[in-house]
């Protein structure tokens, strides 16, 4: 039987391939962990350039891997949220302004809702796939019309 596959089967297969590419890059190839390590290193470097009452610990959320930074240290609420440091409101604002950071919390604060980095990447991969699909569809339509001229 040589009946061709329906496009409603082909489309999910294509989407699954795009999501698989995203997951492979993020997990097995280690780009997710490398991204988290880069954020931590960047914030630690930035913290060495400002005065703090004591050492500040920096940890990017690992379970699940997310763009949320957990800080530890002896810093009052004022220094955390209100003191103006380099134009940002508090250390929280300063850390949140670093590239790649999605949220900041302190270790002694209750954990809020966390969006896993993998979910963000897969959503972006799905969007990129949809853009590619749309472009491909438009190109195929244009060529088809040219064929009948």
């Amino acid at each position: 039987m040589t009946r061709s596959m329906s496009r409603w089967i082909k489309l999910p297969i294509g989407l699954a391939a795009a999501l698989l590419a995203g997951w492979l890059s993020f997990g097995p190839l280690g780009r997710g962990e490398a991204f988290a390590a880069r954020i931590e290193a960047d914030i630690r470097r930035m913290l060495t350039t400002i005065e703090t009452p004591g050492p500040i610990g920096v940890q990017v959320e690992r379970a699940p891997l997310a763009r949320v930074v957990t800080l530890t240290g002896r810093l009052g609420q004022y220094e955390r949220e209100q003191l103006l440091i380099r134009g940002e409101t508090g250390l929280n604002g300063l850390v949140a302004s670093r590239p790649g950071v999605g949220g900041v919390r302190w270790a002694n604060e209750p954990a809020g809702r966390v969006v896993p980095m993998l979910a963000e990447l897969l959503a972006m991969a799905a969007l990129a796939w949809a853009v590619g699909l749309g472009l491909g569809w438009l190109l195929s339509r244009r060529k088809r019309r040219e064929g009948y001229l």
Partner: protein, 43 residues
Amino acid sequence: MLTLAWDNAVTLAAALLIGLVTARWAFPRRAPAADKTEDEAQP
């Protein structure tokens, strides 16, 4: 979010390419009536 996207630009480009290939696969160019493909010849 933008930093994450930039960091994964190659992956996102691959996903876009997969989308293009999927479109070509799922929406093939219709052949002229004279040389219809086997699929199109079916009722």
